[in-house]
């Protein structure tokens, strides 16, 4: 299967463990070069986070397992990039 290089996930997670810990747990995975977590909505008990992970041959199942282990749920996969080269989203006239 081809090389998974970037995933952007929409995650709903409880406040604890916080995103500092979660990002470090994800970054510790083999194949992950870097993690970015941004909170875009906060509730009383939960927060919505955009989780961006980049690397080489990303262990997607392990990423989901870690998120779920820490009480989170992946609501959607918003962006994916695979292959030998990282391709960015291209602006078209239709946009």
């Amino acid at each position: 299967m081809s090389n998974l290089r970037r995933v952007v996930l929409d995650v709903l997670k409880p406040m604890e463990p916080d995103i500092v810990e979660l990002s470090q747990m994800l970054a510790d995975l083999e194949g992950v070069d870097g993690v970015n977590i941004a909170i875009y909505e906060i509730d009383r008990r939960v927060e919505n986070a955009k989780v961006t992970i980049e690397g080489n041959n990303l262990p997607y199942e392990k990423v989901v397992t870690i998120i779920e282990e820490n009480g989170g749920a992946v609501h959607s996969v918003d962006e994916v990039a695979s292959g030998k080269v990282l391709i960015e989203d291209v602006v078209t006239p239709q946009d």
């Binding site: 709903l12 997670k13 409880p14 604890e16 463990p17 509730d43 009383r44 008990r45 939960v46 779920e68 282990e69 820490n70 009480g71 989170g72 749920a73």
Partner: protein, 198 residues
């Protein structure tokens, strides 16, 4: 998993569930209860004219064990109920089953720790205060053993106050005196009540 890793995991559970704060609270509260209860046992026995150390020790031990069981059982049931309610609410918010997640495990761990602290704190405090009674043969006099136990109970109460003072970063001596006064009052009331009963 190595011991160090296991320890790290347990510390993480404690952090997630806020166990340290609750355990501290229960430790002080229940040790306080334990000491004051034993003061009651000592004063009751002394004012009733009990000079056989075996009787005092028996009463003290059975009372301490009862406090331990009460603490353990009560805390287990209440903390369990509270944690389950809290987890259910969180599950409603996250729309997922958290039972097999770190959060679920941290919750169950908290129940165990709180129950143990609630059970062992009064028992340990009571046994500590009773040490002069256990050593009464060495001390040589039952009266002196009673006195030493009471003194030890007051010192323990002062120590608990100092601990509270350190937690709240306030004047430790003032806190120590506050808890000490409870012991002094108990002893004084014991004398008054014992005088009337006899």
């Amino acid at each position: 998993m190595s011991m160090a890793q296991r320890w790290d995991v347990l510390r993480e559970y404690s952090r997630i569930s806020g166990t340290a704060e609750i355990a501290r609270r229960y430790l002080v509260m229940n040790a306080f209860d334990g000491v004051l209860t034993i003061i009651g046992v000592l004063m009751g026995n002394y004012m009733a004219g009990v000079r056989d150390v075996a009787i005092v020790i028996n009463t003290g031990l059975t009372t301490s064990v009862a406090m331990g069981v009460s603490g353990l059982w009560g805390a287990y049931l209440t903390e369990s109920a509270e944690r389950e309610r809290d987890l259910a609410e969180l599950e409603k918010n996250t729309l997922s089953n958290l039972k097999n997640t770190k959060i679920g495990r941290a919750s169950r761990w908290a129940v165990v720790i709180v129950a143990l602290v609630d059970g062992l704190a009064p028992l340990a405090a009571a046994l500590l205060v009773m040490i002069p009674l256990f050593l009464s043969r060495l001390i040589g006099s039952v009266e002196v053993s009673y006195l030493l136990s009471l003194v030890l109970s007051l010192i323990t109460l002062f120590g608990l106050g100092v601990f509270l003072g350190r937690i709240s970063k306030r004047n430790v001596v003032i806190y120590g005196l506050r808890t000490l006064i409870a012991g002094v009052v108990s002893i004084a009331l014991g004398f008054l009540l014992g005088g009337h009963g006899g």
